[in-house]
């Protein structure tokens, strides 16, 4: 793929044809916040925090920079009043779930998001999907999955797979921006394969 030339925040950036705006920006030292992005995983576009303003052929639109491919003469703005508003509201919505997540707290400070704007939710999970995708794409085990849809969506370990695979792995724990994942794991363990945990503690 040949190189393309685009402008990000007024700076000329050269990038390979199929890279995303996010990668192009990062390689040029321009920071765009993300919550669901991870180098080892396919871009996901779920958190929408990386939304940027693009101007292409005279039209302005708002796109997820982790997914939008660079193109010649593209004008990208990673900061604007609207983008600040989008990020602030997204953070406020997520803080209702995980008010103590260090990542969220520091971003909230930057964007002036009020941690208590929305009523607290019972689940800490912000559904970034890092655990689900890491388990599927890197470990190829699919021990954890999304269930249900819309506001009812949640992540769940699949007991049959988890009891075999998770014990010696737990690599997803460190990816989780909140404490939900470990809680979900230990709950699954307690309910579905308590013997395993017991035996191990006796050793």
């Amino acid at each position: 793929m040949s190189d393309v030339l685009l402008t990000i925040d007024g700076k000329e950036v050269r990038a390979k044809g199929e890279t995303s705006i996010l990668d192009a920006a990062r390689s040029a030292g321009i920071f765009i916040p993300t919550l669901c992005h991870h180098e080892k995983l396919d871009p996901y576009g779920g958190c929408r925090l990386c939304t940027v303003e693009v101007e292409s052929r005279g039209r302005t639109s708002y796109v997820a920079s982790c997914l939008y491919p660079v193109e010649n003469d593209l004008i990208v703005r990673t900061r604007s009043e609207k983008i600040a508003k989008i990020r602030k509201v997204i953070l406020e919505l997520l803080l209702a779930h995980a008010p103590d997540s260090p990542q969220l707290v520091s971003l909230a400070e930057e964007y002036g998001a009020k941690p208590d704007r929305f009523e607290k939710e019972s689940s800490f999970c912000i559904l970034c999907g890092l655990c689900v995708r890491y388990c599927a794409e890197v470990k190829k085990k699919n021990a954890i999955a999304f269930v249900d849809q819309g506001p009812k969506r949640e992540v769940n370990f699949i007991p049959e797979i988890a009891s075999k695979e998770c014990w010696n792995c737990k690599e997803c724990f460190s990816l989780c921006p909140t404490s939900y994942l470990q809680a979900a794991y230990f709950l699954t363990e307690a309910l579905a394969f308590p013997q395993r945990a017991l035996k191990s503690s006796e050793k």
Partner: protein
């Protein structure tokens, strides 16, 4: 029937079929639509039984057809050749209809449509005001064909557009014709079909696909199934022509798992089309190969969204992906995939047969042809309507729809269900036009039109649509999933009398962020009904907060 291998063979076959039809023979068309299903099978059996009893087998014909469109008065039965139309026919009426009308050629008065306002009776379908004001270029075929009979379709000229396209036009000419007709997508976006076809045609790839989106998940929209179930060959013919123009040799039909009758009719249509040589290798001797596969949805609204639908065809979970690269360039298995909805495909054969000039003569400057609308809500004549673009909403609601029942006043009309918008009664003279309506925040969507009377609570209405979307959102992206969650909280509060100052502003902010930053069209338009309610009925929202605040 032997496979038809050329244009002349097709015309010969058609002549044979038509010559076998005794035009003066009496026959009845029983509406087998799905909207007024009540006792459908028993009604058909009653007529068959009666004909057997009166020893009329072979002398009179019975045809179970697709939806006639007049659902409020269904089940409808039309008796040919006189075109006598009976409404709300029950199985116990069969005996009288057969003996008095089919044999005696007399009209059964009590089964004839009576205008509720003027009290005037209308014996023939064409005299009923509901039908009189429509232009039924597509739906008008329904009463004349049994969807299970390819011969019925051939008898009214079916597959002649395909023959014309394959044998007398180049793919580029077909494409040009559709572009000149300015056929715009009927699925909701109104995007010019010809431009989409061109993108797919120009995309460099060995393998390309054309897809018919027959998902129709929008609440209150039931026109696609009326035409698809009632006249499946029309859509199949359109899809093959589209495949030819785009350069695809494979077509997909994606439809609902919960409509077995539709599936049966489509499956049979494909089987017959293949047997007759309209599908398969070297169609009509043109050298063009094409086949169609049917896929069923998994029972989630968002699987009707183009990119989700394509994932579903690939065998994956129907989660939308951002369409930064158009599906016409990279769709199913990353190959150029041209998707249009049922009604769009249904328009294609007539554009090819009658030409783009004829087609472009119907409608408004930028919205051409007719549009099927399903009318529901507080309206006398619920049903499937087909009118030329440019018809005013007033004509649709009053002249065709018969106005508002129970002496109530009209308050608003709503297009596009949960992802659409509402127009107040003051705007009832707006013409049916893609651009005029979307400018007012109430884009046509797929074509479901809800009519609301003066008792409708707009806050409740918004909440109803949001409830629907809460169940149908996939939940992948934050602005849609969490936005819906918080908006529902606010609506619940408002309806419990606990609305707070600032709630409207929060709703507006969530709407704005949702429409700018959501991943797919569902998320981006979740806020549409709320935005249009806030635009035209803001006082009702304010009142619901104030009165509650006052009560505390």
């Amino acid at each position: 029937m032997a496979r038809i291998n050329s244009g002349p063979e097709l015309e010969d076959a058609r002549k044979v079929i038509v010559s076998k039809r005794e035009l003066d023979k009496a026959w009845l068309a029983i509406c087998g639509g799905i909207s007024c299903l009540g006792g459908r099978d028993s009604l058909i059996h009653a007529f068959e039984e009666e004909i057997r009893k009166q020893a009329l087998e072979g002398k009179v014909g019975v045809r179970v057809t697709g939806c006639h469109g007049f659902c409020a008065q269904g089940p409808n039965v039309v008796i040919y050749p006189e075109e006598i139309c009976y409404v709300r026919v029950q199985p116990e009426d069969a005996s009288e209809i057969v003996s008095r009308t089919l044999i005696g050629k007399k009209v059964v008065d009590r089964l004839v449509y009576t205008d509720p306002v003027t009290g005037k009776k209308a014996v023939h379908q064409s005299e009923i005001p509901y039908y009189k004001k429509q232009t039924r270029n597509l739906l008008g075929m329904n009463p004349r064909i049994d969807p299970r009979s390819i011969d019925d379709y051939l008898a009214i000229g079916g597959y002649s557009a395909l023959a014309k396209a394959l044998l007398r036009m180049s793919p580029e000419q077909v494409l040009e014709e559709v572009k000149k007709a300015n056929l715009r997508g009927r699925g909701g976006g109104g995007f010019p079909a010809g431009l989409k076809w061109e993108t797919a045609r120009n995309a460099k790839a060995e393998i390309k696909y054309v897809i018919c989106n027959g998902h129709e998940g929008e609440p209150g929209a039931y026109m696609d199934r009326a035409i698809f179930q009632g006249n499946p060959h029309l859509i199949v013919e359109g899809l093959i022509i589209g495949g030819y123009a785009v350069g695809a040799r494979q077509g997909f039909i994606y439809t609902r798992h919960d409509m077995p009758r539709l599936r049966e009719n489509v499956d049979l249509a494909l089987k017959m089309a293949e047997e007759y040589g309209f599908l398969g290798k070297n169609i009509l001797g043109s050298g063009f190969d094409f086949q169609i596969e049917v896929h069923l949805d998994v029972g989630i609204f968002v699987s009707g969204e183009a990119s989700a639908l394509m994932k579903s065809i690939e065998g994956k979970a129907p989660e939308p992906r951002p369409k930064y690269t158009r599906t016409a360039v990279k769709g199913i298995w990353e190959r150029p995939s041209n998707l249009n909805n049922v009604e769009t495909w249904a328009n294609v054969p007539q554009i090819i047969s009658k030409g783009s000039d004829w087609y472009a003569g119907i409608g408004t400057e930028r919205s051409k042809g007719t549009k099927m609308i399903s009318l529901s809500g507080n309206i006398v004549n619920t049903g499937v309507v087909e009118v030329p673009f440019g018809t005013s909403l007033r004509e649709i609601v009053y002249d065709i729809g018969g106005g508002i029942p129970n002496g109530k006043k009209l308050k608003a009309v709503h297009f596009g269900a949960a992802m659409g918008g509402t127009l107040p009664v003051e705007l009832i003279d707006t013409p049916l036009d893609f651009d005029a309506l979307s400018k007012l925040g109430a884009g046509i969507g797929a074509g479901g039109l809800f009519v609301m009377d003066e008792d409708t609570d707009m806050v409740e209405m918004s909440r109803f649509f949001l409830d629907f979307l809460a169940n149908e959102s996939c939940g992948k992206c934050v602005p849609c999933r969490e936005g819906i969650r918080q908006m529902l909280r606010i609506f619940s509060r408002m309806s419990e009398g606990k609305g707070k100052e600032g709630d409207i502003e929060t709703l507006e902010e969530l709407c704005e962020v949702g429409s700018l930053a959501s991943l797919c069209a569902l998320g981006k338009t979740t806020s549409s009904p709320i935005r249009s309610a806030l635009r035209f009925f803001r006082k009702e929202y304010e009142k619901s907060i104030e009165s509650k605040a006052g009560a505390v």
